[in-house]
Amino acid sequence: MNATPAKYGVFVAAVALVLVLAGCASPASREGMALQTPAFGKQFPYSVRVQTSGGADTGAVDTINISDADLKAAIEDAVVQSKLFAAVVQGKDGSDYELNVRVISLSKPLFGGTLTVEFEAAWSLTKVEGRSVVMRKSVKSSGTVTMGEAFAFVTRARLAVETAARENISLGLKTISGLDL
């Protein structure tokens, strides 16, 4: 079985194409999950501390994940920009409310053209004084990205995850804005 140079060339080109299209996974970024000019129509005169859990880092050969740190930063950015709370507090002490967001599931397709990501997060808001839970809600969102928006699979997957995360953050904070704190 003799392989001609032409066949080698086709094989190498095919491998190169696969590598270009697949690439290495990069995580959903804080910037990608950030809401553009968020506004929820309410401004609470309280401070809030944001905590996130259940996320995961993204390795080079993993599927796209959302890290706790990036999700926390994206939520904090949205809170600050929308002025939903008067201040975002870092550290354990000194906040009026604690917002906990736990990643429950992030369903990511492993292949496909148009990618749809389903994302569920458990949002809970606790009043620090008295430790009373004022909101507990399962927030479900999705993000869809077509091949026209991004040709490389990893880019499409990351954009879909970021879209689902943005919608989740928007829905979660919108729910909080409907509360009477």
Binding site: G54, R102, I104, S105, S107, L110, E120, A122, S124, R136, K137, S138
Partner: protein, 90 residues
Amino acid sequence: MLIADKLRSKGITVTTGTEPPVSNVEAVVTYIDKWMWDITMYMLELTITIRDPKTDFPIASGNSFHTSLTRLSPKDMVNEVIDNIYKGAK
């Protein structure tokens, strides 16, 4: 059935089905399983969530992710996730 059997082994009364749960249940358990093929089909990822039946709020959840080289049987995946949820609850 694997999840139901595992919970029964921990002394919990379990019913299964796709209909809305009856009103007197204390928790609803849902799961998402993802399968892949590598010579044979195997379970890549399993997420089990225990929910408040009234609000659908996730009270606890656990996840197991094993690629082909470290693949586990579905029963072992269920055991791993449920055991981790119980460990986290302590």
